[in-house]
Symmetry: D2
Subunit: 125 residues, 4 copies
Amino acid sequence: MFDTNITIVGNVLTAPEWRRTANTGTLVAHFRVASTARRLDRETGQWIDGNSLRVRVNCWRRLAEGVTASIAVGDPVVVTGRLYTRDWTDPDGNPRLTYELEAAAVGHDLTRGRSRFARTKPTPT
Amino acid sequence: MFDTNITIVGNVLTAPEWRRTANTGTLVAHFRVASTARRLDRETGQWIDGNSLRVRVNCWRRLAEGVTASIAVGDPVVVTGRLYTRDWTDPDGNPRLTYELEAAAVGHDLTRGRSRFARTKPTPT
Amino acid sequence: MFDTNITIVGNVLTAPEWRRTANTGTLVAHFRVASTARRLDRETGQWIDGNSLRVRVNCWRRLAEGVTASIAVGDPVVVTGRLYTRDWTDPDGNPRLTYELEAAAVGHDLTRGRSRFARTKPTPT
Amino acid sequence: MFDTNITIVGNVLTAPEWRRTANTGTLVAHFRVASTARRLDRETGQWIDGNSLRVRVNCWRRLAEGVTASIAVGDPVVVTGRLYTRDWTDPDGNPRLTYELEAAAVGHDLTRGRSRFARTKPTPT
């Protein structure tokens, strides 16, 4: 079986938060993103809001650096990566399921503005 | 913004259940699917289990018919469609978030077997 | 960088042809698939044909078996896999570019009919 | 049937070129992008180059503006949109097939650097 890939075009809901993992000191950042589909209403001919999607995005290493340095709440972004579920138990002992997206790439959506990009030199993080 | 498309290659976890909507009598079916990624462990050279994903799949109209008539628990399938979140409130008044996939197409995965297919004539359901 | 994943919902244009590779005797099959988008015309409120996509699909090993045994011209299918380009030179010495899809999974689209599926036992091919 | 969505993480091969359509004066830009997959060689444990993909990307209206103002040759980008084929006839009268991607969103890949983003106000173009 296979990784389940997903691409979201939406807006940043929460500012990136970063930390280093306890064992290896690897940089990891996360933020939340929301997307709302627009669909053409057949009767009125108008575009209306369709379904929406909100999900937590995890970024590792150099992507964590780039995202933390570049992304703010409300920014329009395109995010691509792998979707998976994480099982956990809430304080009352109930089984719970969380969906997370491990990003392979994140960028500002140039449909909505302009970006000035500065490439980083490849250094191990 | 845009629909968020997703394709899952995995196994059917629960048998399709179907009903008709109250207002229009439209046929809708749902089942759960699970996918577990396999990844090559760099140190051992062996394939090991990676992240997994479980999600509810909703099928409408003719796809609901085809799925109900064809799919059973454990079947290997490929599912493609749109992912979205649904907000609801649990009995204790807590806000909860559920992820659902509205399928555009579902098929048995021919990597894992053979299928005999009988096309249905296009009739409104 | 990353594999470029793609999922096509469409119809089989050519019957699967199979062969074994010269070196290792690995089974490989290919066929062509076509998909035509439907879009809602904003002025008339009617669905009309949009862009179309035709591509060669390559299947390896057990998927090649399943596809060869199950798929015929005209069948509605869902195909998911990786898209890549192959460079070659035509008889006149001109550089040419072909797009191919290496399938990870192929299935009959249950929106368009019903399938009876028989799982194969996992044997090395 | 459906639009065929695709997301490419790669590098810009050619600088964006823009023009206005003859009939409506709509802004459209295009550039080429290339992606090369990396895969883990099972025997050596090293990452090696896998398949590559090159494709023309078309951008309309505000995305054409953003891309033309922001993107240069060599930039790492993430591109998402719809893939389709275009039929044409070469000067010798041979039928030819070209693949094009109509982008829904394009962004600089923050895995590879940092971006400063300035949002444009929504004005019709």
